[in-house]
């Protein structure tokens, strides 16, 4: 069996297992940590696909910065223990129904569109040079400049919004 294929299946199992752990864990800290592992597994997927930049960004931004903030908030509020029982009783059947629908759709698409050729790009084609990074940067700043800038403005707006919301009224100060 191909080494890459073996790696893929191990990773896929890890990703699915950590996603399940995230959903089923009754402790919010553990759920957050499962999500970190999930992000890390996905980062290795990107590496397998020959996109080291995306992989490293995935780890830095999602597994690192964002999840640390999640953990921070969970620990700060002491909200790690989830309440027993359902808060929204109608939520569970709805979620199960939606999940079945999504799964059926995925299977249908996979069978119809992709002929399930298990051929991953060979990681050997990932040449250890700066070229792929340069190409990506060039694309980002020429062909996809507008979406790139729009995204950055969007993030800026969100950031300013968060600051304004958390600032609160200044009372008693000129």
């Amino acid at each position: 069996m191909d080494f890459t294929l073996l790696l893929f299946f191990i990773l896929a199992a890890t990703a699915v297992a950590t996603a399940l752990g995230l959903l089923l864990s009754r402790n919010a800290v553990y759920a957050a940590l499962f999500l970190v592992l999930n992000f890390a597994a996905i980062a290795v997927f990107y590496l397998l696909l020959g996109a080291p930049f995306v992989a490293m960004t995935q780890v830095t931004v999602y597994a690192g910065a964002i999840m640390v903030l999640f953990l921070f908030v969970i620990m700060m509020l002491g909200a790690e223990k989830l309440p027993k029982g359902e808060v929204l009783p109608w939520q569970r059947p709805l979620a199960i129904g939606a999940a079945i629908l999504l799964f059926a759709e995925t299977v249908l698409l996979l069978v119809q569109r992709v002929r399930l050729t298990i051929g991953l790009p060979d990681p050997g084609t990932w040449e250890n040079s700066m070229d792929s990074l340069r190409q990506m940067a060039k694309m980002l700043f020429t062909d996809y400049l507008l979406p790139f800038e729009v995204t950055s403005v969007l993030l800026l707006v969100a950031m300013i919004g968060a600051i304004v919301l958390t600032k609160g009224e200044r009372v008693g100060r000129s």
Binding site: V29, M56, T60, A63, G64, V68, F72, M75, N128, S132
Partner: protein, 381 residues
Amino acid sequence: MTLAHVIEWLVKGLVWVLILLGGFAYLTLLERRSLARIQVRIGPNRAGPWGLLQPIADAIKLIFKEEFMPEHADKLLFTLAPIITLTPALVITAVVPFAPETANLNLFGREITWYIADLNVGVLYIMSIASIAVYGVVLAGWASNNKYATLGGLRSTAQMISYELALGLSFAMVIVLAGSTRLLDIVESQTEMWFAVLQPVGFVIFLIATLAEVNRAPFDMPEAEQELASGYNVEYGGMKFALLFMAEYDKMIAICILAASLFLGGYREPWFLRDTVLGVNQTPWLGPLYMFIKVFVLLFGMIWVRATWPRIRYDRLMAFGWKVLLPLALVLVFLTSIGILLAEQIHPAWLWAVPLTSLVAGLISIAGIYASLRSKEYARA
């Protein structure tokens, strides 16, 4: 990829971990002895000549201590946290080269390089590992189920996230100057001139931000002993404590290696020795020696800083990170890019605009800090 590859990686990784282990042991001794000198004490001098066996005595003591577990601690995470803390400190230096490619050894018919991994995204790898390193401390604090430990962990998260931004931007300056994210390219492009000379204020920002990242004095808020007993590691003892301690010192070594590689030319000789017999091109085996000297000087600097400066107040720490370092680093990235562009388009001498503007920006921000510290409003806050 063959079996020989895997064996090579394993052996190199093992050797490197053992070097870091020994470095940790003797760094603690160096720190204790130097601190004692600076504070006009004697320091540990009983075990062996000049106290050289002290780290071994400490290790034996810690191994034979009882492994206890706080009653209401989260058992799994309490055990895992020291491991999660230590691992990033050990793996972050995997991409750093310690000698030029001309110094490659020839063993068993294979060419052995002086680095463990050669990644084209080396700097980004360092960034990602650094951002993972936050988890260990915060989990150690939370899993202890102790309010002081949790507070220490939370403080460290806030501090590390805040200073990671300035750190990332100082990486960006290096990437712009070198035109590559590969560590070998970055080191080689410092043959002409070290980046610490080209971007002095960027280097200072890197040093400050890394000090805050590894929670060293004067940014050792997570373990401020007057306020938090000992912070995130207060419930730990025995080998678990030793692991946390080892992580702290290995992180120090790691960031000094990174500072040396990114700003001080790594294994390259000082630029004025380039064409002499002391150059790395002429005598390649000098590379690791240069690296060691640079790392040693930086480590001693960190110890010196700890002995000299008091801990910075928490609100000022945050204000400094967000209101001074981050904007300054952004400006410096901009100035560096402009300097590079002018040097490429007009004349190479424009490169010297980078250190000039960098110093001016640094001086302006120091003046700003001085003015704001003198203003009455800040003093009351």
